[in-house]
Symmetry: C2
Subunit: 92 residues, 2 copies
């Protein structure tokens, strides 16, 4: 996990919202952008940041690019936080 990239990616509310939306399953760039009040160019930028952090994966399907969550990285992140701070309640 590229820790630095992951944390930076998570630091933006739009990107967290994108990830949240991907919980429900894969979506195309277009679908993913619906309801955000920014241009598709800006969205593409956010997608790129998420990809760089390996938080999302992409696949072309015709004219569309389908985004899906790479939950491994999020798992790693959560685990990292828990390990990192041993007194964090949890059954490790």
């Amino acid at each position: 996990m590229k820790q630095q990239e992951v944390f930076k990616a998570m630091a933006d509310p739009t990107r967290r919202a994108i990830l949240k939306r991907l919980q429900g399953g894969s979506l195309t760039a277009g679908e993913l952008g619906e309801g955000f009040d920014i241009t598709s160019a800006s969205l593409s930028h956010h997608f790129a940041v998420l990809k760089r952090a390996d938080l999302v994966r992409t696949e072309r399907r015709g004219q569309h690019i389908v985004y899906s969550l790479n939950s491994t990285v999020l798992e790693d992140l959560a685990r990292m936080l828990i390990d990192f701070f041993p007194n964090l309640g949890g059954k490790k």
Copy 2:
């Protein structure tokens, strides 16, 4: 938990190192800064960011300010990640 503040605070490597150092127990601002190659003014800035996110607590002891980890917030963060992404392996 002020999610946005917490994520932003965690996005900087110096601040993560500070938190890590506090795992071992409370430290004064001076002790906390040892080994970082930045000025104490810059460190103070980082401390302020961590305080704003409520990741650390402070207490004056004479001339010193003692910093300690507020692990509650980190707990919340880890829990949030796990809840947020249901398919994250864990026993919730």
